[in-house]
Structure formats: C-alpha cells, structure tokens
C-alpha cells in the first residue's frame, strides 16, 4: 500500500468520481477498492494478538465465551458473538465500569451457583460441557441471560439518542 494515499485522497476520489445527478449513487468501484485495501493494510500493520482478559478470571472468561456463543451463535450466513469479538468487548468495558462488575461478576457467580444447585454436573459448564444445548433447554436460562444482554446492548441514556443518535439529532 503506497503511503501517498491518504484518507483525504480517498475521500476526494469518492466525492469526485460519483455522478453528480444520481443521489443514492454507487461508490466508484475503484475508490471502494482503495478504501478496502487501505483498511486491510492498516490492520496488517498491527500483528494480531490474542486478547488477554482484563477483568474475568480464565474460567469465568470461558463461561462468558460460551454464553456469548449460546445467546448469539454463528450460522452459515455469518459469524456470531464470538466472531464479532463480544467477549473481548464485554470484558474490556467491565474492567472499566464498577456497575458492570457488580452485574456481570456477581451475575456469573450467581449463574454458576444456580447451575451447580440444579444440575451438579454442570458446574463450570463452559469448561466441562462443550454442549450448551442442555443448558438451553431450560427456559430459566433466557431469564438469567438477560443481564448479559443488557450490558451487551447498552441503552443510550437519553431517549433522543435511542432513536436518533446514528444520524438524525441536532
């Protein structure tokens, strides 16, 4: 990737190359390819490192991964929460936020406890039971996974943000 290609140049090519008459116009293929290569080059420049959890202990982190996988699995069309990096994201945010630490750290302990009480065998389920489907037969799981999803999907504080923060606020 030539270092002479700056973000600004790409932007210019995007803006100039498009037909002025068409509004919902297609980004010129050449410019799109440029942008694609630029991002790929940026990524390649930083060697991929395995994520080291900052908050969750190793076995808890595995449980977290299993939960993520169970709540939002991969399928033939796309990856799931694991491929999207949800466990890393949750761990990073939790390491920085006391409220999440209480909900998620405590919640995970509660989940383990509950599972141990009910199923004995399923303690530390993530490590010992590679098939989370037994867990998923229990409707209870939908309830106990809620706090996880709540943090995964942080609600915007202001309601104007909820609907409009992507593009339409002023």
């Amino acid at each position: 990737m030539s270092s002479g290609i700056s973000r600004r140049n790409v932007l210019k090519s995007l803006a100039m190359g498009a037909a002025a008459t068409s509004v919902l116009r297609v980004i010129p293929a050449q410019a799109a390819e440029y942008a694609h290569h630029m991002i790929a080059a940026e990524k390649a420049a930083t060697p991929a490192k395995a994520y080291a959890p900052k908050f969750f202990a190793a076995h808890d982190y595995k449980t977290l991964q299993t939960l993520c996988q169970t709540i939002f699995p991969a399928d033939s069309d796309s990856g799931g929460a694991i491929e999207a990096g949800a466990p890393e994201f949750i761990d990073l945010l939790t390491s920085e936020n006391k409220e999440y630490q209480a909900i998620l750290g405590g919640g995970l302990m509660w989940l383990e406890n509950t599972c141990t009480d009910r199923y004995g065998l399923l303690e530390r389920s993530a490590e010992r039971n590679p098939r989370p489907d037994r867990l998923s037969q229990e409707h209870d799981f939908a309830t106990c996974s809620r706090p996880w999803r709540r943090v995964l999907l942080i609600p915007p504080e202001h309601d104007r943000g909820r609907f409009l923060h992507q593009r339409n606020w002023n």
């Binding site: 100039m16 999207a84 990073l92 709540r150």
Partner: protein, 567 residues
C-alpha cells in the same frame, strides 16, 4: 494572585467564541478590513485526526461506547469532539425542583462540528409572537430585516431544500435535495393520508461542489464531523475565510473570565485564562462580539461586574439570564412491518433526514399556542452499540431465534422527534450561583426551569401525531411515555434539545431588553452579543441558521459603525 499579562496590541474587534456566531462575525469583520482576535475556550481542531468519519465500530476497542460504556452520555465516541453534558472542572448547578441539562463545547468551531445541520428560516410570524397571540414579546426586527441575511448565509454555506410555499417555513436559497430514502417514502405516504405536510428537509449539507468544497459523498456520518467539509461547520467553512484575509488571530484554550470596562463606559479588554499555563491574560480591542453560546455569553456578562455595571455588564435592565428557553422535544417510534421484507440496499444518504414535516396546523385552532416540526429517521443505519437493545428487551429467547429476530427487525424502525416552540416564562432562567465556581475560580451558572401547560399540551399533540402517522400505514407505535411525572407526554428536560437560548435578549425598550435589533448592547455601544442569547423567542426552527443570519447582520452594522467612528 497570578500576574496579569497585558497584550500591548489593540485589535479592532475581539470575538469570544468560535461557533456559528463567532465564526460568522470573524468572516464578515475581517473581510471588511478589520483586525480581529478570537478567543476560544477549547483547543484547535484537526479534522484529519479528530474526526472518526468512515471508521467502523469494530475498529475501535470500545466500539463507540467509550471507556466503561460511558460515551452514551455524549451520544457516542464516534462523534466530532464537540463537547459534552459534563465538563471536568467546569460545573454548573441546577436549582432544586428544576431539571436542566447543559451541553457545552470546548473546541474551535464549537457545536457546529456536530450539529444536525438542520437549517430552517424563522417565519414572518415568528418575529411577531405577542402581536399574534398575546404571549411573550415581539422581536425588534422583522422577517424582512433578516431575510437578506438568510439569503447570504444560505448562499455561502450551502443548504439543500425545495421551494414549497409553506408559510410556517419560508423558502430559501437551496441546492437540490437528495432523494427520499425508502423509510421516508413510507412516512410521506402516511402524511399524505393524514394531510400532514411532509417535504424535503433543509440541511446545511452541499449536494453540489461549492466554494472549493466537494459535494456530499453520502456516508450518513455528518455527526462525526466531515473531513471533506461537505457539511457546514464554523471551523471548516467560516474561519478559513477569515484566516485568508491575514487579519485574523485565533487564541485557543483561552477561557474568558470577564470583560473589562474603561472609564468611558466602553468595553476595552477581555481578561482570560490561558488554560495550559493557568496564567491570567488580557487582550485589548476597540469592539467586542460575544458569541460564547447563549448561556455562556450571559455568564460572561453577569460576571463582568464593575462600579458602573454592578449587576453585570450591559445589564441595567436586569434581563440578562432571564427568558431562558429550549425547544419542546418529545419522541417515539414505530415498527413498520413492510420494512421486514425490504431487500438490503444503500440507505445512507446525508447525515440526517431527507424529508421532514414543517409545522402544518397554523391554519386552525389548536389546544396550545405556537407550533412544532417533526424530524424523523430510521431504517438501515450503520448498526452500533445498543442497536438491538429494545429488541432484546422484548424478545424472549436466545440462540438462532434471537439472531433471526435481529435480522428480520433490522432497519424496520423509524423514530420521530417533535421540536416545538416554548413560550418564555418567568420561572426559567439562569443566574450566577452564589457559591460554586469553576476550576479557575469563575462563578458558574445556576439554572431554574419549568415547562408551562402550553408546552406539555404540545408534547401530547406530538405523541398523538406520531402514533397516527405510524398506525396509518399499518405500523405499531412505541413510546415510553406517561401523561404525568417529571416528563409528561415524553417532554424532555430543559436543555436536552440543545436549543437553549434567549438569555441576553434584544428589544426596542432598554428597560426590558439588553440589546438592540443589531445585537448591540443598549448600555455599551462597542459590545455585541450575536449568538442565540439575543433571541426574543425560540420558534420551532432549529436556531443555528438564524444565529448566523443575525451575526452576519450585526457584523455588517458593526463595520458600518466602525467606519463612521461611532462605536
């Protein structure tokens, strides 16, 4: 006490604030031949570095949610470095029983780096409120006075829109608008059924090359700041033209403390803190333009006390801080089943709505005075953190069922937000807090806030209208709204819409207003306040375009007076 450094130079004009008001004044005054110095409380802006345009959520470790997930307070970490609801070291207070939020910016360009670019003219009737319905006050100027300046501003910054002849929403100088998105055609259809006016929106985003700025490339990310300056910001559109004159000096990280008055009763200097060194400095000028944002401008004047002006500079009327208003805001949204089968398509467009509903019920009697417009948006936005929160709250289950639900629901939601006119009242104002100070010892503002029945009735009407629109085309309406409590009918707390203004209002009578129709202080001839503090009323139109028109007009007047030697 820190040593005060005096600048030996006397500039023609000192402008305080670099946003919509300050930027416009800088352009006009420097192009008119004056030497101008500008104080900005925040740092310089570097779009290439500061704007996160075209960055994907997965490219940021926090995906836009910020450290500890806290960026949702400030909308998102993707946004231009525009400011926040809380600023370290710079508190403000809210009187007990009041609810008010103050969004402040500390960067060159101010809030114009992030604003929604909604550029609406006030209507003729908006300048004559009291004559029309007996409430509030008339402006000392008319639509005809301001119209030529709307023309100038629109011609210079570039605004898209269409000629529609809607009396509540005067037409302007427009570039061609982008076509409606799929979601917008559905809403338009609903509005046609209900006889609600729905027309192309008017946004300060250029759709044709203009003054060396390339046209919009439709990435839908205006709020992140625009590297190609295809949307309007003071930092990228106003200030470069001032710099080009060679008569413009910008001092960043300069927090104004006080405007100092000479023996002749005229303003002669601004005392400010150089933030990096915490040194107290002064800059001298022959005239002053205050555009620090409405409440910050009021704060500066109220803090500029002297024996000649014991209640604050230019405040012999006692009105500074009073008649604080914000827009009436209430919102909700709908699920549109027809969108579940919509094939995936490019839905980006500009960073804002392509259509909107101007106030349409001006021709009949309503159970409230004044009016509101409706903004809306939805569909296949770039998904971000929180995108499926509502869905997960409602959907019982997980696994493939949840995933399929997310897929089918993505892009099927359209949100609506009303923006209405609040009538100024005696209970909504700001004043200097008797105790609290900021980190430089500058006394801070204390806010008092109360909505009146008129605004609450307006919010109720908004909710009814949103529901009708959604249901008329087979959708399901959702809003977490109750008719009572602190936010009846979903009315937002004061300040949340970020249209807070009116605290240094203009008027013909010096006993009931601080400024004349040219934003010039009645008490201090060489002092102008050209931001939205000068507004007499807060019509349902977003204030930025009018701020620029008034600042342009005031600056031409200032130039003229300076030439005549009568400042």
């Amino acid at each position: 006490m820190a040593e005060v450094t005096r600048s030996p130079k006397v500039y023609d004009v000192c402008i305080i604030g670099s946003g919509a008001a300050g930027g416009t004044a800088a352009k006009i005054l420097t192009e008119g031949g004056l030497n101008v110095v500008m104080l900005e409380a925040g740092p310089a802006l570097n779009p290439e570095k500061d704007f996160k345009e075209h960055v994907w959520p997965y490219q940021l470790p926090h995906r836009g949610a910020g450290v500890g997930g806290k960026a949702s307070d400030n909308f998102s970490e993707f946004l231009a470095p525009n400011g926040s609801w809380e600023i370290d070291g710079e508190p403000y207070t809210v009187a007990s029983g009041s609810r008010f939020h103050w969004f402040r910016s500390r960067i060159v360009g101010g809030r114009t780096n992030h604003w929604g670019r909604i550029a609406l003219r006030f209507a003729p009737v908006d300048f004559k409120s009291r004559s029309t319905d007996g409430m509030g006050d008339d402006w000392p100027i008319t639509y005809e006075d301001v119209a030529p300046y709307y023309d100038k501003v629109e011609s210079y910054i570039g605004v898209f829109g269409t000629k529609e002849n809607v009396s509540s929403a005067p037409d302007g100088v427009f570039m061609p608008p982008p076509k409606p998105r799929c979601t917008e055609t559905i809403v338009k259809k609903a509005c046609d059924k209900l006889n609600i006016t729905c027309i192309p929106s008017r946004l300060a985003v250029i759709t044709q090359a203009h003054n060396g700025r390339p046209p919009c490339h439709y990435c839908a990310q205006c709020g992140r700041g625009c590297v190609s300056a295809s949307n309007f910001s003071s930092s990228q559109v106003m200030l470069p033209s001032a710099e080009k004159t060679g008569r413009f000096t910008l001092i960043t990280n300069a927090m104004a403390r006080e405007i100092i008055v000479g023996k002749d009763g005229k303003a002669e200097a601004v005392s400010y803190i150089d933030k990096p060194t915490r040194a107290e400095k002064q800059v001298h000028a022959k005239a002053f333009v205050v555009g620090a944002s409405a409440c910050e401008s009021a704060r500066l004047l109220l803090n500029s006390k002297s024996s000649m002006f014991p209640d604050g500079l230019a405040n012999s009327s006692g009105v500074i801080g009073r008649y604080l208003t914000d827009s009436v805001g209430s919102s909700g949204g709908g699920f549109f089943p027809q969108l579940t089968t919509m094939p995936a398509h490019n839905h980006d467009g500009v960073g804002g709505m392509h259509m909107y509903m101007p106030w349409w019920k001006f021709d009949r009697k309503n159970d409230f005075l004044r009016g509101y417009h409706i903004e809306f948006g939805g569909g296949r936005n770039m998904p971000g953190v929180g995108e499926f929160y509502e869905l997960c709250e409602q959907f019982e289950g997980y696994g493939m069922g949840l995933k399929q639900k997310c897929r089918s629901m993505y892009g099927t939601y359209i949100g609506f937000a009303g923006r209405g006119e609040m009538i100024p009242n005696e209970q909504s104002y700001c004043e200097i807090d008797p105790v609290a100070v900021d980190e430089w010892g500058i006394p801070v503002l204390r806010f008092h806030w109360q909505w009146s029945d008129n605004e609450i009735k307006m919010a109720r009407d908004m909710q009814q209208t949103f529901r009708e629109i959604v249901e008329s085309v087979g959708g399901t309406y959702y809003a977490r709204v109750v008719p009572d409590g602190p936010n009846p009918h979903g009315i937002q707390d004061g300040g949340v819409i970020i249209h807070e203004l009116g605290v240094v209002r203009m008027g013909t009578n010096p006993r009931t207003s601080a400024l004349n129709g040219f934003c010039q202080a009645h008490d201090v001839k060489n002092l102008f306040v050209t931001d939205a503090a000068s507004f007499v009323t807060n019509p349902d139109k977003n204030p930025t375009l009018t701020i620029m028109a008034l600042s342009w007009r005031a600056s031409e007047y200032l130039l003229d007076q300076a030439k005549k030697g009568s400042l």
